[in-house]
Symmetry: C2
Subunit: 416 residues, 2 copies
């Protein structure tokens, strides 16, 4: 164990016991202070961000990666504005979920409590630093942040700004810890920091998430990887299909709830397939298809078996022609990542079969998969989209950052 | 991977898709058939159990272990009776937890769904086989059971009886799988069976639970280990204290919610300590104390630092004299297992401080820790007591065996 990780773990754990006692007003004052300080510190933060950007350019990282890392005055203001919205959200801590009194008079309540110490391990975007820290503070948690080495200067400047703000509030400065060692070894230590970490949340690409799920002994909230499908059934409305498929693929191809794969029922394909592919091609989407698709639409790239499980996060779409809703369900349950899946059909029975049997966090009938999102669902904040089945599934709002506790009040009750 | 585990994993996964479509009535019919079949098969089951008992006696296993393994006609009838009670419980699957319609008309419901395939890994008691299988079936899950080698014949006979029963119902026989290979290697394979297992629940001693938590990449529901404390504050009522401490220690010392350690405020100890120890000694409890306790009560065994973290599950009690509620909280958060913790006090402020700051699934004021139990809480069934913070904490009833799914019904909605 490095000194840094155990020390920061210990400090975060101790701070979590103070966080647990803060009122909603105290936590909101701390958030308000952070929102103000970020704007005050903007020039310093941008200067540090420039170091990361220069290094990224020197390493010739992809333009899209550099854009995600880039901070501007507007982006810092957007972080501050998001904190203002978070302040207005209801505090889940203290909510009474069950309340019963036994015949012997023992009164038991099940109440929401903070998780304790949340570990966040994430990739290039520095705004996750502010997001994660403020969502954790709002829910009475301490947080240990571990960003990527490429955003190290930005993250240090952002956390320095948070610390400046917290020092003026009742919220302990130690409640937000940034791990400065961005080596793989340091990440591996976090995976096993069960003494101090209550949960570990990875945010980033499939490789990072799979690594954390495979290696960590700390409980993990698996987020994000989305190999999402749309199944076009025989009776799918043609105009609706075109509109939804284009939206789900092209509106923002780099996000987890965009579709990566299209399954088309054979008769619908024969009649309407080419027109749909032409519309997709016009939107610069590359079609990666099976033999049937290649035969009908020569601009198609040949799909290999690997394509069915691939998350492109790009203007690429794998397409397979299939027989019916049952083949769609089997294909999705085999190759999907349990994120967001849609059926387009006018057949109510097929819709029900699909919605019931596809194993995913969110399933849709005649709507775009792009709706799977904490803000779209009205949660006002999102710590990630869970693709696992325990604790939270789908978009995770503030309650996902809480646990529960049974509190029993008696006057001498013993068990008979 | 052994053929057995991947084969049974695959069969269970496939069966889980059928389980997911069954109505409550269909599941209850299957449970009814199992309850009947167990009684029909009782002689066969007892004959197989006798083989395990004979082997256990030959290996000179402890009498308490052999008693936990022993089946009788009464115990089989008790299993059948428990199934009848389970049939009467509400089915959580299908419950609508959220329901909202967006401005664009997209209607979204968050509904409870089965977890899928539940893995249970457990120690000697064969009744867990029936418990786990029936709770999983009630909640629409398939289950993979992995009991101990010492109860192998009993478990095989019990699962054979379940299979005979299920063959007459709509519930697939493959929904209940027993792993017959009871080697450590087979257990290790289960830990990483992420392709087929949605959750792994260990039930048994601390060594088993720690092994699963440390090794498994399948999400784990940590259950059971209970190093529980009572803190006797300065103002604790003397008679109530004696009654609660005796109950929590002696009513059933082998269970996880019995106390293992007593923390006594210094002034209360000076006045009432010896009388309490005499009452405990009369109930055959061995006191394992710090220096102050040894000085006051010569029959005390000297405590080492290891004792503060030890779960005796026996008529032994570690005792430490401390200064106040803050020392109690720090001690419990350091050495406890986040299970059940109690404060005995007439001081409301100290009670609040304790209840808020002790990090445990259940905290009590002036009541015995023995109440932490699914049946005591009125849940009617219990798959275990969770000592982790994700998904479920404390006694886990049927909802702990479910996940959720968002179902969105639209008529062409796309994201703007």
């Amino acid at each position: 164990m490095t000194t840094e990780i155990t020390q920061k773990g210990k400090l975060a754990k101790r701070a979590s016991y103070t966080m647990n006692t803060l009122t909603t007003a105290q936590k909101n004052e701390a958030l308000q202070a952070i929102a103000k300080q970020l704007v005050v510190d903007a020039d310093t933060i941008l200067a540090q961000n420039a170091l990361d950007i220069t290094a990224a350019e020197a390493q010739q990282l992809p333009a899209s990666t550099i854009d995600r890392m880039l901070l501007t005055h507007d982006r810092i203001q957007a972080m501050a504005d998001a904190i203002e919205l978070l302040i207005d959200l209801a505090d889940p801590v203290g909510e009474v979920l069950e309340d019963f009194t036994k015949d012997n008079g023992l009164h038991v309540q099940k109440v929401r409590v903070p998780l304790g110490v949340v570990g966040m391990i994430y990739e290039s975007r520095p705004n996750v630093t502010i997001d994660a820290a403020t969502l954790c503070l709002k829910t009475g948690n301490a947080v240990i942040l571990r960003g990527s080495s490429s955003a190290k200067h930005s993250n240090m400047a952002l956390v320095a700004s948070i610390h400046t703000a917290l020092a003026t509030t009742d919220c302990p400065v130690d409640a937000v810890q940034l791990i400065e060692d961005t080596s793989r070894e340091a990440a591996a230590e976090l995976f096993h920091l069960t003494e101090y970490l209550d949960v570990l949340i990875p945010r980033g690409g499939a490789a990072l998430i799979n690594l954390v799920v495979r290696e960590a002994s700390v409980p993990v909230l698996e987020t994000g990887a989305g190999n999402c499908h749309i199944f076009i059934d025989a009776s799918a409305n043609v105009d609706m299909t075109k509109s939804i498929v284009l939206n789900a693929k092209t509106q923002r191809p780099s996000v987890c709830n965009a579709i990566e794969s299209l399954l088309i029922e054979r008769s619908w394909f024969a009649t309407h397939g080419v027109a749909l592919f032409e519309a997709l091609a016009q939107a610069n989407v590359t079609i990666i298809g099976d033999d049937a698709v290649q035969a009908a639409f020569p601009a198609t790239t040949a799909a290999t078996d690997d394509d069915w499980g691939h998350e492109y996060l790009d203007l690429k779409l794998s397409v397979k022609v299939i027989d019916d809703v049952f083949e769609a369900i089997t294909h999705i349950n085999t190759y999907g990542t349990n994120h967001s899946e849609a059926i387009l059909t006018e057949d109510a029975a097929n819709a029900q079969t699909f919605l019931r049997n596809v194993d995913a966090a969110a399933v849709y009938h005649n709507a775009s998969t792009r709706f799977t999102d904490g803000f779209e669902y009205g949660y006002g904040a999102e710590i990630g989209i869970s693709t696992q089945k325990l604790h939270a599934r789908g978009p995770m709002g503030l309650p996902a950052l809480t646990s529960t506790k049974y509190i029993g009040i008696g006057n001498g009750q013993i068990r008979g």
